[in-house]
């Protein structure tokens, strides 16, 4: 019988199914961080049990860490205690920790893929909703609560009910100046912030297949913003060449006495991971890539997005889903119905988060901003996703380009995406942000967030207002500017 990609992975991971109830799902990889794990370890200690399969859990410190002076003790007492608790818990339970100061430290959804831990066909969970990022590799990856973190630590399993299946197809070529963040903000604006609740979402179509792995991660990352249980993309040559040779990728040379390498064996398996031609989805959407413009949000949920050249919806023009919240959102944002978003003053620019903090994002911003200067009254924070991204940026001289432009390159962490550490946007200020959520207070109490791509954020950094990045890009009818960037990314 024809199966979807999701079903193929799901079926391989069911230990048993409870009569009339959920299935027991085996978890291949588990990521933990300092904020949602301490209570789970407390639970294990109360029960007097150890982590069941410590080699299948990897820890890092990201949510709550400072992004300046990471070599010094964390000043804020509660944050420091949380990070110390992670160190202690990992040591007691034999869990590998890439903590502050470690060359692999970084945002959990950046380090998993870059270390080759994230692989096709796996089940991957973490006490963080953006775990959906890892689905870009063709895995079932989703965020869980702390009780569930405890379950996975204790038994390497979770109880899960099978979600419905959705496929979102994006076909055709992207316009110049349009990148993967715009694709996902566009989809969100069409299906709303709850459009995929209860579904596992597969992203497909030629526009998706043409994307690099990092660009794919941006899309799957925000599948949770549609309410999706997870987002996934069938693995292909782009996926395989990204993983090949990474630290924890299957080894390329055969181990003693074995025929064939672990890599070859894995590849044979990974190549079976796609939705069969006649597989059936509960819901399917089709979008044309050529319809997508550089996008930006104006409201307080990620579904409230418009083209940068567009106007803010009015009570008459907005979709039903966001109608009731429109006035409340605009009052919070200090914006007006029917007004253009272009030209809106920006106070802060945040380029970072598990959505857009990878080396490609930094390269894209650097290529655009080289030789340009930030606007005087704008503060620009660039927060790399990991120590490895930071090191790579420095090796390529990207740090110098940022410095010359007046951008501040900080140290890795979740930072102003959620403002848990000191990186907060002051009340009433506007921040154009490459992160994933524009909820009230997300970047600091009273902060006003405009979500956009790294290119659109960089354009605002230069002009000080919301800008159509295409106006500042070299004339390029073929879209050479962005496509050359993406090519350079894929060779790395």
């Amino acid at each position: 019988m024809a199966k979807t990609l999701f079903e193929k992975i799901w079926n391989r991971h069911i230990v048993k199914t409870i009569d009339g109830g959920p299935a027991v799902m085996y978890i291949d990889k588990h990521f933990i961080h300092e904020v949602t794990s301490p209570q789970a370890f407390n639970g294990l200690n109360k029960r007097g049990i150890q982590v069941f399969r410590p080699q299948q859990t990897v820890a890092t410190a990201d949510h709550n860490v400072p992004t300046l002076n990471q070599h010094l003790p964390i000043k804020e007492e509660l944050s420091r205690k949380q990070v110390e608790a992670l160190i202690k818990n990992c040591a007691e339970h034999g869990v590998e920790l890439y903590g502050l100061g470690h060359p692999y430290q970084g945002i959990v959804h950046v380090i998993g893929p870059e270390l080759g831990i994230t692989q096709p066909g796996m089940t991957i969970v973490c006490g963080d909703s953006h775990t959906s990022t890892h689905g870009a590799f063709g895995s079932i990856a989703f965020g869980i609560g702390t009780s569930e973190v405890e379950m996975v630590l204790a038994t390497q399993c979770l109880l899960q009910t099978k979600p419905k299946l959705m496929r979102i197809n994006v076909e055709g070529d992207l316009k110049n100046g349009v990148v993967s963040k715009d694709i996902v903000l566009y989809i969100l604006s069409k299906i709303s912030a709850s459009g995929a609740t209860g579904y596992a979402v597969e992203f497909a179509g030629s526009a998706i297949r043409s994307l690099s792995m990092e660009a794919r991660m941006t899309i799957c990352n925000m599948s949770i913003e549609m309410g999706g249980r997870c987002g996934l993309i069938a693995p292909d040559e782009t996926t395989f060449s990204y993983i090949k040779g990474r630290k924890f990728a299957p080894p390329l040379s055969p181990e003693g006495g074995q025929e064939g390498s672990a890599w070859d064996k894995a590849l044979t398996n990974w190549k079976t991971l796609y939705s069969d031609a006649d597989a059936v989805f509960d819901k399917e959407y089709h979008f044309d890539a050529a319809d997508i413009e550089p996008m930006i949000t104006y409201g307080t949920n990620p579904g409230m997005g418009i083209p940068v050249t567009g106007t803010i919806p009015t009570t008459e023009t907005i979709n039903e889903t966001d109608k009731s919240g429109l006035n409340k959102s605009l009052a919070y944002m200090g914006l007006q119905q029917g007004a253009p978003i272009r030209g809106q003053k920006v106070d802060y620019v945040f380029i970072g988060s598990c959505t857009n903090s990878r080396i490609e994002d930094l390269r894209m911003v650097a290529s655009f901003v080289k030789g340009k200067q930030k606007a005087n009254d704008v503060e620009v924070w660039i927060v790399p996703g990991s120590k490895q991204v930071e090191a790579q940026a420095k090796a390529e001289g990207i740090d110098k380009i940022f410095e010359e432009a007046g951008f501040m390159l900080r140290q890795p962490g979740c930072s102003a995406c959620l403002g848990m550490n000191e990186d907060k946007i002051p009340a009433g200020k506007y921040c154009i942000s490459t992160s994933n959520r524009n909820f009230e207070g997300r970047q600091g109490a009273g902060a006003r967030t405009l979500l956009a791509s790294p290119l659109t954020a960089a354009a605002a950094a230069v002009t000080g207002v919301v800008t159509d990045v295409r106006e500042l890009m070299p004339p390029s009818p073929e879209g050479e500017f962005v496509s050359s960037l993406i090519e350079s990314n894929q060779t790395n």
């Binding site: 209570q39 407390n42 709850s194 949770i224």
Partner: protein, 216 residues
């Protein structure tokens, strides 16, 4: 349920299956995200306790000042109280922070009613003895309308029967003001008896080990 499943130690408080009968707090807002339920700056604790005082913190207080409650926010309106929170659709979207469920439970709510919940929040609620009750849009509107005309309107939730009924002004629920709600049979048993998933999963550890041997 299998025999093994009956050997649980109850580790969470049993939900009163015979019925929760209470006034309720109407939060007529859609897409209430977990950043509103409990802002990130309050996630620095390493225990599960004490989150209730920061529930809806930035909607409750002016400039983060507990001496300046925002009068328009429903938790600050003395006419509304009770053990049930009623919210509009897509409640609990956003971050997976279980702290949101802890905060709601710690504040004193035992159940949340909405026309639909975000996935992760729903699981988190169930794992903490906080009952998420999904009702139709029509019934939800009736509940909000009733609360508007009669702040002492009550909801009666019976988990055993899977029913929810609305009554106004101390009168018993009238015809048509009730619904049957869905809940996974396994989760229902857990809620009624205070079982938790970890007890269950630990009880089938041998099955898990057997499964692992099938992995190459």
């Amino acid at each position: 349920m299998s025999k093994a499943e009956n050997n649980f130690n109850a580790t969470v408080s049993p939900f009163r299956g015979q019925g929760l009968h209470s006034t309720f707090v109407p939060l007529n807002m859609e897409n209430v995200d977990t950043d509103q339920i409990i802002p990130a700056r309050f996630l620095k604790a390493t225990t599960r306790d004490g989150f209730g005082k920061n529930l809806f913190r930035d909607w409750r207080y002016e400039n983060d000042d507990e001496t300046k409650p925002k009068a328009e926010f429903v938790l600050n309106q003395p006419q509304y109280s009770g053990e049930i929170l009623v919210a509009a659709k897509n409640f609990g979207c956003g971050s997976s922070r279980e702290h949101a469920a802890w905060a709601i439970a710690d504040y004193g709510f035992r159940a949340v009613v909405s026309s639909f919940f975000a996935d992760i929040f729903k699981n988190n609620a169930l794992n903490n003895g906080l009952l998420p009750v999904v009702v139709s849009d029509e019934f939800l509107q009736k509940i909000f309308a009733a609360s508007h005309s009669d702040p002492k309107a009550r909801l009666e939730i019976n988990l055993q029967e899977q029913t929810i009924k609305l009554s106004v002004s101390e009168t018993p629920p009238s015809e048509g003001l009730g619904e049957v709600f869905d809940i996974n049979a396994y989760k229902k048993t857990c809620m009624l008896n205070g079982y938790d998933d970890i007890d269950y999963l630990l009880s089938i550890k041998q099955d898990i080990i057997n499964y692992e041997t099938t992995l190459s």
